[in-house]
């Protein structure tokens, strides 16, 4: 046998339920913590959701956020926040900041005159050669709609996935898979809340991608579980589950690693504009892998499967009208 890089031995026999109180309980605890953080600290919404303007500045002069703030002090603007941006791709004397100006209530974002003033003041105070590579404004009306659309998208996607899993497997699998997905998404949102990372429309796209991707590992486990349930009709459900997870462990780790490597490359080298997006997907894949081993199947076990022949018949995909019976 030639040498192979392996993440897991050929045959494993872990009891994935042994530390259930820690693994599953830990997941529950983290989910609750994430929701609390989300509720208490709130998310650092970008202009997509809150309305307002962001201006990207670029200069050869090193950034002193205080000086920027002082320069903008005199202008009649809403809430202003200034953050310095770092990236591995920047040249040595390339100094970038993002200035975010909140929309004043009811007004139509920030006027072009105000943006002109900001640019003028900064050029005068910091660097006459400063450039503004991007200026974006979103009015409060649109941002309200974007919030609604995003929430709708998350719900619709979850429901679609649940229905698909129900058609292909059994409803318990659908519920287990979707709850595991929500766990991944909620913890990711929690991390964004705790570290106050900017949360904008691309992050929502990332969360939706997590929904679509992180189910893959779960599907692999469930697919094997379905096969093993046919094979070992007498084995207790819990043991069939353990067997299935052990058998698929190598590929679960491998598929997660390939994706993490690719997303990791994007996180490090993909530029600062995409960093939040990459980070969300990276975290989502990480938790997704964990949840497909430790969360999804536990939920199916808690709900329980009816493995009798009669239930098998009623549970065939063509006849799901009686499925709750």
């Amino acid at each position: 046998m030639a040498w192979r890089f392996k993440l897991a031995p050929d045959k494993t026999n872990f009891d994935f339920f042994r530390w259930q109180w820690l693994t599953f309980g830990g997941s529950l605890f983290l989910s609750v913590l994430a929701i609390v953080a989300w509720a208490v600290m709130g998310l650092n919404y970008g202009i997509d959701f809150k309305g307002g303007t962001t201006i990207r500045t670029e200069s050869t002069v090193a950034v002193d956020v205080g000086a920027y703030r002082e320069a903008l002090q005199g202008l009649p603007l809403g809430d202003v926040s200034i953050t310095e941006v770092f990236d591995t791709n920047f040249a040595e004397n390339q100094h970038v900041t993002m200035i975010r100006i909140a929309a004043e209530d009811e007004s139509q974002a920030v006027t072009p005159e105000q943006i002109g003033q900001v640019e003028e003041v900064l050029r005068a105070a910091i660097d006459p050669a400063m450039t503004f590579p991007s200026v974006e404004s979103v009015g409060p009306k649109v941002s309200g709609e974007l919030v609604y659309t995003s929430v709708l998208a998350l719900i619709v996607t979850s429901l679609c996935i649940m229905v698909y899993m129900w058609l292909r497997f059994e409803w318990q699998f659908g519920v287990g898979a979707v709850l595991a997905l929500l766990h991944d998404v909620i913890i990711t949102i929690g991390i964004f809340a705790i570290f106050q990372i900017k949360f904008d429309l691309t992050i929502v796209a990332a969360l939706l991608t997590i929904l679509g991707y992180s189910i893959n590992d779960t599907v692999v486990v469930f697919d094997r579980l379905r096969e093993n349930l046919q094979k070992y009709k007498q084995m207790p459900l819990r043991e069939v589950m353990n067997l299935s997870v052990n058998e698929t462990l190598a590929r679960t780790l491998m598929t997660a690693l390939t994706t993490l490597i690719a997303v990791g490359a994007m996180l490090v080298f993909g530029g600062d504009v995409l960093r939040g997006f990459s980070l969300a997907i990276f975290l989502g894949v990480l938790f997704g892998t964990y949840s497909s081993v430790y969360v999804a199947k536990n939920i199916v076990l808690i709900i329980g499967l009816d493995r009798s022949e009669k239930a098998k018949k009623a549970g065939t995909p063509d006849d799901f009208a009686n499925i709750d019976a």
Binding site: F5, S134, G139, L201, T209, G212, A262, G270
Partner: protein, 556 residues
């Protein structure tokens, strides 16, 4: 022997070849872009200049010339989301109805008594107070007789106005189907006019599309800023020539019936009282262009059509020595005194213009006035340097991701890992091929979708190879059998996993906008091609390798 049906082999080869061929132009992006631009210009003009011919020769005609469009966030440019104020048009429509309603009521004056217009409470209504409440039935009947039928898909047999009464007030409202028709027409006109204005300004490949009921999305690559774009399309550009009644230094609160008081555009504190009904308006213009007056100052030269020329000629002949005002969007540009009769219908507008302003005004005037004002809900400007930085970063990330994933796959699966890497390379090429074919737009999140696809595409290979290992361990009859079972039994998991991701991409496409939509497209294409390459292309390679080498034992 491993079996892979011959027709499937041929089909796989053909699809791969087509994908590679379609992706090819993207390697020569600048040349193909120049070629396509020149081809378009030549088709419009009917002949080719030397420069255009040179650009045409850069890329052979018989090769596919579709390339992936770069989104605004990669190319740089301006993005605007405008909301058309259709209420403006409703109001104008109701103002138009008033004389007709008044005349109709005059015919039944003996029953109705005198009538007076009341301020409207919603934009699409006209409120008329009548003297004798007892005559309301007759009034309603008389006004209803004015209604005409609206023909729409849903509203057949409905009339354009609804007439109701509230005490002694008669209410005329635009009916629902008529409002829908007005909305439709207003948006359509606005789209056309915006398109003309942007095209005349000479920018390339603008995107101008309707979004939702009353919104228009405008994306113009290569323009300096959203403010500049807004100046071009945000002005209504309603031009009128009105007789001047008097000139003053403050707004005239009582301009008199049929008159309005308007501020001067350039002179602070100067107001003109002008007659509300114009002599001629911008609709009568056939042409306008930037020019200079006899003193060499920038001006706009214009030409009236026959009707406009006659009206203008007659008016100037009768009013020599009197001033008339040139009014643009409710402001007086200038109010020259008529020196002589102006026949022929051409003239120039002078004002305090710069050359740029004069040219822009000329563009606006010849494209026509917008039917309604617009509110800008979203404005984005992205500089070309930032776009280029993003492309560079994206390219670097893609290369590193591909290299790292390749190393991992080869370390884990040896020769089979190499097969997976070949399939991955073909997959990437096919994504570009399909995107070029359907004219999809690559956005910054789209690049992320591409990188993500690299990580996800090999997952299908992982599943197949791990399944082969399973089958070998379970004691498959032969190496060939293990390979076949590996492909067969991994299929259900691969399909399920990818369908769920495809569902997500679908939702993102329908609910997302702009860059997010670009991500959804890239992701969806990547899923389809990666399933194809992981299953068919890998299988093809494995089959060729196996049938050639005929290994006794299989090491995956």
């Amino acid at each position: 022997m491993l079996n892979f049906p011959f027709w499937k082999q041929i089909l796989t080869w053909m699809l791969v070849a087509a994908g590679l061929l379609l992706a090819l132009p993207n390697l020569y992006y600048p040349q193909v872009e120049a070629h396509n631009d020149a081809a378009k210009a030549v088709e419009e003009a009917g002949f080719a200049t030397t420069e255009q011919q040179a650009a045409l020769d850069e890329w052979p005609d018989w090769l596919p010339s579709g390339i992936v469009n770069l989104g605004l966030d990669l190319r740089g440019g301006a993005h605007l989301l405008a909301e058309v104020q259709v209420e403006d048009v409703y109001k104008a429509r109701m103002d138009g109805w008033w004389p007709e309603v008044r005349n109709a009521l005059r015919d039944v004056r003996d029953q109705v008594g005198s009538v007076r217009r009341q301020p409207a409470q919603i934009p699409y209504e006209l409120r008329v107070q009548i003297e004798n409440e007892a005559g309301m039935a007759a009034a309603v009947e008389a006004v209803r007789a004015l209604a005409s039928n609206v023909v729409t898909l849903t509203g057949v047999g409905q009339t354009d106005i609804d007439v109701t009464a509230e005490g002694n007030v008669l209410i005329v409202q635009l009916s629902e189907p008529e409002r829908a028709a007005v909305d439709q027409r207003t948006i359509q006109q606005s789209l056309e006019i915006i398109r003309t204005r942007v095209d005349q300004a000479g920018t390339r490949e603008p995107t101008i599309q309707r979004q939702g009921a009353d919104r228009i999305l405008i994306q113009v690559p290569g323009i300096g800023s959203a403010t500049e774009l807004k100046a071009l399309i945000g002005t209504t550009a309603k031009l009128t020539f009105n007789p001047v009644v008097r000139r003053g230094t403050a707004e005239d609160k009582t301009p008199g019936a049929g008159n309005v008081s308007l501020p001067s555009m350039d002179e602070e504190g100067v107001w003109y009282t002008v007659e509300e009904v114009p002599v001629v308006s911008g609709e009568d213009l056939t042409n306008a262009k930037g020019d200079f007056d006899q003193n060499g100052r920038p001006a706009v030269a214009f030409q009236f059509d026959v009707r406009g020329a006659r009206a203008f000629g007659d008016y100037t002949a009768q009013n020599i020595g009197a001033p008339f005002a040139i009014v643009l969007d409710g402001k007086v540009i200038s109010a020259p005194v008529i020196q002589s009769h102006i026949p022929g219908g051409s003239g120039i507008i002078t004002g305090n213009f710069t050359v740029e302003e004069a040219n822009r005004l000329a563009v606006l005037l010849s494209a026509g006035a917008l039917p309604a004002t617009m509110n800008f809900l979203e404005e984005r400007t992205i500089g070309p340097e930032l776009g280029q930085d993003s492309i560079d970063a994206g390219r670097l990330a893609t290369v590193i991701a591909a290299a790292a994933v390749s190393v991992l796959m080869i370390a884990s699966y040896g020769l089979f890992g190499v097969f997976a890497v070949v399939a991955l390379a073909i997959n990437m090429a096919m994504i570009f091929g399909i995107m070029s074919m359907i004219g999809a737009t690559l956005t910054l999140p789209g690049i992320a979708g591409l990188v993500l696809t690299i990580g996800m595409a090999v997952d299908a290979n992982v599943l197949i190879y791990e399944r082969m290992r399973d089958e070998l361990r379970a004691g498959a009859k032969s190496a060939a059998r293990a390979i076949e079972l590996g492909f067969e039994r991994a299929l259900s998991a691969i399909v399920d996993a990818n369908v769920t991701t495809l569902i997500t991409a679908g939702v993102l496409f329908f609910l997302g906008a702009g860059p997010v939509r670009g991500f959804a497209v890239t992701l969806a294409i990547g899923i389809v091609t990666s399933v194809f390459t992981a299953i068919n292309v890998t299988r093809l390679i494995v089959t060729y390798w196996y049938n050639r080498r005929k290994p006794k034992t299989l090491v995956v």
